[in-house]
């Protein structure tokens, strides 16, 4: 990598982490458990989702080990089914949905709009508690034997035919859903009502815009999942209901209601990631995001259109052909704003002054992988090809490309990018670049072969498969090992850096966001006094002027 860098750290011999900051303000467990501070809640969230990520990751490891050979020899088919169900449930509801919004977003949102806190700090804390309760319920479910419905709770399988712990899993997701509703609600209120003087909508960082869009989806989509799960649970308990044909219900109704949430949910899972990428790309190319307005509005467009494409998960399931037509068309439309974003980011690099610190590496990885993931989504969105590709590993590859290659990459980009702000210390640059590279390589090795597998027709959720698919599966498993290492590294060196990392100073990246204009780690109130926004977002010239002024005044 290039030696050029924009990192500007204070003189290490004299630099100190500010004594007074949100981490040191109060001590003791209770001061954390009863905190209203969004940064502390974000930290709590960070710890909890990391925990769940590794559980989910370990389950992924088991999946890949089982699929190393065509027979189901490592575990019984039942166990395998439980493993991928829990993997999906945990990764989606306990890791990816809260990943960027509830951690990074929670940490940054008030700072980016120039407020002291989120509008509803108690609700924010409540949201974390709900998350923990849901998490405990999920762990309980897992420890008493797990659930094997798949993450989609497909009826009538889930309501009638399984004797695993569908109820506790369903209720757990129900509670987790409310946790995410409250986060989303809080963000929307904060963005509308808590902006500092001068912070107009079009001066907001794009991170705020994309989280705003994701929050709309959380607030309006999640309750539908909640009621659906309530109905599933009722149906299981009183043996009468609207989803199971044996009781006169309609399983397709379940699909409609479930995907009404779960399609928007995939945008809940990606939009906040888009926000991170905007910030990172801009900072490391020292340029305003190309076509700010288009990028901002494309997030909102995705949020709105995203509500009306859900039935593309049901093309072969017996919805009316005409419905399929409409939903397919809308799916094509919703793909366009993502294309706009990708190219706008690419053009942000144009005439920039680019450096390649770790967050930037992750962001570039994101752009490539998300493009592949998104374009393969278009394969699935076209009704014709979906017939062949649906329910195969092609879908698995598609969603891992967007969720892991997309969102997880941007989550890591964000964690590295804001790590110095969060902890006041830098992560070690060289090894983290290595980790970024490892994940990129491991990722492609894991999931690219799955596209081919899917095209060949290998169905998903198979504990055993015809032997001719083995070779590609071996590649995939090998890749997963590399990938696992790639994810293990950050947790090690980031923990290390808490104590030994270099002191970062306020603005190691020379970034323009308001969050960088305060100390790191920030004060509990974020800013000594409420800032006044008098420039556009990503105004690097303003930043320079500001710094010149400071130098002059010293």
């Amino acid at each position: 990598m290039s030696a050029a860098t924009i990192i500007s750290l204070p003189d290490q011999s004299t630099a100190r982490i500010p004594k007074m900051n949100f981490l040191t303000k109060e001590n003791g467990l209770l001061s954390w458990l009863l905190t209203g501070d969004h940064k502390r809640i974000a930290t709590l969230y960070l710890v909890s989702i990391t925990f769940f990520f590794f559980i989910g990751g370990a389950l992924a490891g088991l999946i890949r080990l089982e699929l190393l050979t065509p027979q189901n020899d490592l575990m019984a088919a039942d166990t395998y089914n439980k493993v991928f169900s829990m993997h999906g449930l945990i990764m989606v509801f306990f890791f990816l949905v809260p990943s960027v919004p509830a951690t990074i977003g929670n940490f940054l949102m008030p700072m980016m709009v120039g407020a002291k806190d989120l509008a509803l700090p108690k609700i924010n804390l409540l949201s974390w508690y709900l998350y923990v309760i849901a998490g405990i319920m999920m762990i309980y479910t897992m420890s008493v034997g797990g659930v094997d419905t798949g993450w989609t709770f497909t009826t009538p399988l889930s309501t009638h035919y399984l004797n695993t712990h569908v109820i506790s899993a369903g209720l757990s997701v129900f509670v987790a859903g409310f946790s995410s509703i409250f986060t989303g609600l809080n963000f929307i209120v904060t963005i509308h009502k808590m902006r500092c003087p001068g912070m107009t909508w079009f001066r907001l960082p794009l991170f705020v815009w994309s989280n705003y869009a994701a929050s709309i989806l959380m607030v309006l989509g999640t309750p539908v999942l909640a009621i659906t799960l309530v109905l599933v649970v009722l149906e299981r308990t009183v043996h009468i209901g609207v989803f199971d044909p044996a009781y006169g219900g309609d399983p397709l109704l379940f699909q409609h209601l479930f995907w009404f949430y779960s399609h928007p949910a995939v945008y809940i899972m990606i939009l906040p990631g888009f926000g991170v990428i905007s910030e990172v790309i801009s900072t490391f190319s020292r340029k305003r995001v190309f076509g700010y307005t288009a990028v901002a509005f494309s997030s909102v467009a995705i949020a709105i259109f995203g509500f009306f494409v859900w039935a593309h998960h049901m093309f072969i399931m017996g919805i009316s052909n005409y419905s399929a037509l409409v939903f397919s068309l809308l799916t094509m439309l919703v793909a366009v704003p993502s294309a706009i974003k990708i190219y706008n980011w690419a053009f942000t690099l144009y005439k920039g002054s680019i450096t390649f610190e770790t967050p930037m590496l992750y962001a570039i990885g994101f752009m490539g992988l998300f493009t592949i993931g998104g374009l393969t989504g278009v394969f699935l969105g076209a009704t014709g090809t979906d017939i062949h590709l649906t329910e195969t590993y092609f879908v698995v590859a598609h969603f891992h490309f967007v969720m892991v290659g997309g969102m997880l990459m941007s989550f890591l980009a964000g964690i590295h990018f804001w790590w110095p702000k969060w902890t006041g210390r830098m992560y070690p640059e060289k090894i983290s670049q290595l980790a970024a590279l490892t994940t990129f390589i491991g990722f492609n090795l894991t999931f690219f072969p799955q596209f081919i597998l899917g095209t060949l027709g290998m169905p998903r959720r198979y504990a055993a498969y015809p032997p001719e698919f083995q070779v590609l599966n071996v590649f995939s498993t090998a890749g997963a090992t590399v990938l696992g290492i790639g994810y293990l590294l950050p947790i090690l060196y980031l923990t290390w850096s808490l104590k030994y990392g270099e002191i970062a100073g306020d603005n190691p990246w020379q970034a323009t966001g308001l969050e960088w204009q305060t100390q790191s780690p920030p004060l509990t109130e974020n800013f000594p006094e409420i800032p006044i926004m008098d420039h556009e977002a990503y105004d690097y010239e303003w930043l320079e002027r500001q710094q010149r002024k400071e130098v002059a005044s010293v």
Binding site: A3, A77, F290, G291, G457, R461
Partner: protein, 358 residues
Amino acid sequence: MSHISPVLWQFLVKWLTNFQLFPPEASKVAPEMDALYFFMVLISLVGLTVVVLLIVSFSILYNKRRHPVATQIEGSTLLEATWTIIPLGLFLVTFVWGALLYFRIYTPPANAMNIYVVGKQWMWKVEHPGGQHEIDALHVPTGRPVQLTIISQDVFHSFSIPAFRVKREAIPGRYTSVWFEATEPGTYHLFCTQYCGTNHSQMIGEVVAMTPDDFRKWLQGSTSGNSLAQDGERLFASLSCNACHNPSPSSRGPNLVGVYGSHLTLASGQTITVDDAYLRQAILNPSEHITQGYAPIMPTYQGQVSEEGIFALVEYLKHLDSDYRIQQTLNTTVLPANNEGRPAPGASTPNAPGEVKQ
């Protein structure tokens, strides 16, 4: 070479010799599907290459060392419009193309031969009109459109034949259908692709496409003695459907001769066309749709007939085109040896007199 471990070596050989990018094209739609697939691969490659090229070239050109000071640019309406409109256009093309293909795969031609499929945890049961039963296998002739009428008797399953590029969900309580025309004789995978519980991955089988001659031979070799329609006829009698459905003027139920494909006016004023799905509903949930002029007296047969039995009844009613058949059933529960009625396709040959077993 000698340093490579034998396992790895074998592995590589295996891979290189078996490497495929897509499954065999063994049906008429397969090449059409693949054409669209490769078109999409192509536009994806174009899109991706553009992205990668932009990133790489800008990264080199505007690296901080080479380009220490960034030039601020707002954006460019023209450029942005370009990369809105071009992808939009391409996506719309795939949409239209995909939709055409979708309608093609899910709209069976009129002359298709019908095979019935029941999915259950964890097997596929196939019923040929000629009375051949198969489990986890499907034999079809090449060069002839075959329509599958699919239903599940428990949970969602999905009937998938990758080599034919077709797949359709088996839904409990409702018929779905799909058709294909096999082109290449051979044996292909049959998968259940919708997760359906413990042995989902064991719910696999094979599809054997045969030349019409072989297929005829196979039909003869695997007959169960009587055709599906005959099974239906027997059920019709044993469930005493004919007590109400008979041509006599005093019959309490409508005459079912020629009902298939006809337009019925319901008591609600709705008009519907009778198809397989309607027949099924009429047997299981008769009170949901009452035919005009009749009382809702028909009992439900829910729980008394299996999905296969309903298929048999449906097949029977489909081919019920003269009163004579009913008359026969009415008069005797012993089946007439040589029945009139249009014989079901493929069923004509095995039906020698006396062959009917109960």
